[in-house]
């Protein structure tokens, strides 16, 4: 009887664990193998670090772009993360100060979460393109005459479109997290601070911020990992150069030249390694669940 009790948790977990271990584990294993040049389909059975070497040294078709893609990805994801975290904090504090639960606010934030990234990106395209709605408003206001005069906000070389997209999508996500923490916090602390003479900004900085920081940080790291490795939106809103790492990886992974595939896979694994390192560092810091 007692033995059955200690076996059965694993029995219940088995299907879920098996699925994850097999699918994620096998996919990563196959990926690593391919990146090391082990491709049975073209008869290569020897391990070779050529793919990684060409990437890191900047040579070869994929290697030429690797470092600029890495830099670009970091630029977009770090900027988007920091800006959305800051905006989310302000938004959440602003919304939380409204009495009465704010069901409409939460609904609005959840709605934003439910809109798929692809759709949001398309909307941004229609809105911010040089012939898009914003440009037309500018024309109506007499600011410009031709589409070409409107600044390039999406599909631009600086990743502005991407950053705008991710900031507008991730700010509500982080705001929801902060809002949940704020709503569970007794308001006493802020009141005590106000009593002691702290003004609104001081209250924010010395009372609210430390309280929500752990949750906000955890959310921000999730956002960073997501943006850094995302493919769909950069594929829609990005340009030919510079490219995000994920776009670069896929481009070479689907190259008809089988040898180029190893390069593509290597890029994606380097990307994975960076994301996992960041996640591991944040788990150690935050002490997981």
């Amino acid at each position: 009887m007692r033995r059955r009790l200690s076996l059965s948790p694993w029995l219940s977990l088995a299907p879920a664990l098996a699925l994850v271990v097999v699918l994620v584990g096998a996919s990563l294993a196959y990926g690593v193998a391919q990146s090391l040049g082990l491709m049975a389909v073209i008869g290569q059975n020897t391990v070779s670090l050529d793919a990684y070497r060409s990437l890191l040294s900047g040579h070869g078709p994929a290697g030429r772009e690797f470092w600029s893609a890495l830099g670009f990805s970091l630029w977009v994801s770090v900027t988007a993360t920091i800006v959305s975290a800051a905006l989310a904090l302000l938004l959440a504090v602003g919304l939380a100060s409204r009495p009465g639960g704010g069901a409409a606010d939460t609904l609005a934030l959840n709605w934003n979460l439910a809109v798929p990234h692809l759709v949001w990106a398309v909307a941004l395209l229609l809105f911010l393109a040089q012939s898009g709605l914003l440009a037309r408003l500018a024309a109506a206001g007499g600011l410009i005459e031709l589409p070409a005069e409107f600044p390039v906000l999406v599909r631009d070389r600086y990743g502005l479109g991407l950053i705008l997209h991710y900031v507008s999508k991730e700010t509500p996500f982080l705001a929801l997290i902060v809002l949940a923490m704020l709503r569970s916090q007794p308001t006493g602390y802020a009141q005590v601070a106000a009593n002691l003479g702290a003004n609104r900004w001081q209250r924010l900085r010395y009372v609210t911020l430390p309280f929500v920081m752990p949750g906000l940080l955890a959310g921000a790291l999730l956002v960073f990992a997501f943006v850094f490795s995302a493919y769909e939106v950069p594929a829609v809103l990005g340009v030919g150069y510079p490219r995000m790492l994920s776009v670069l990886a896929l481009r070479f992974f689907t190259d008809p030249d089988l040898r180029a595939r190893a390069d593509g896979m290597a890029v994606s694994l380097i990307l994975t390694a960076i994301v996992l390192a960041v996640a591991a560092a944040s788990l150690k810091r935050g002490g997981a669940k």
Partner: protein
Amino acid sequence: MTRLSQIGRWALYLLLAAPLALFAVYAFSTRWFFPQLLPAEWTSATLARVLGDGRVISALRDSVAMAGGVSLLAMVIGYPAARVLGLRQFRGRNAAWLVLFLPTVVPPLAVGMGLNILFLQLGLAGTLAGVMLAHLVPALPYVVFTLAGAFARYDENYEFQALVLGASPARTFWSVSLRLLAPSLVVAGLFAFLISWSQYLLTLLIGSGRIITLPVLLFSAAAGGNPATTAALALIFLAPPLVIIAATARQLNQRPGDIREQL
């Protein structure tokens, strides 16, 4: 802060309503060029054409079928796992959490590329089953963690009461457990549906061009450049998320912390 928060709130609502309005305007027009602020002529022809397109219909059908299947599978596999994670203490529990948490951090790009190779060998590439398995990777952890949270708040004594009153374990499950967990089950199932519904990259990589879902169509339309068609497709694509959020609004309001970023 009140003036600022008012501005912030209206900016938020504007931000969210704008895309919908934009899509609607584009979808109900055929010609809407710079610098017109509103279409020269309104028509429902675009929407009708898109809805009547055979490819769109089959993509819609495939998307719905797969998302429904993924949701069901994720719930069936995830329920027992979530139950023991939420209710029981046992050695290795943290390890199990970690393993099930992995798919939320490992980039879908790497998983998709690796699965592409694996499924080619297994003959699953380009099949509905293969794509659904791939969709399970992001969907399953979401379901497990949402339900585990519900189980952590769950009191087994309700089930004990049902048992001693004469209900068999099966009867107890259907009549008591499921009904007590209903709100969380609904949220988990609907969001698993949404996760599968929104997948593009995994469908692309595993589907090998043979499985066409709505996001695949939308992507090529957006790259192609006919804004009216793109907008119409976007509206169709948006319909289930809209409905699902409206349906689960109350539950989500009570537990906003459960939301995950996978869409």
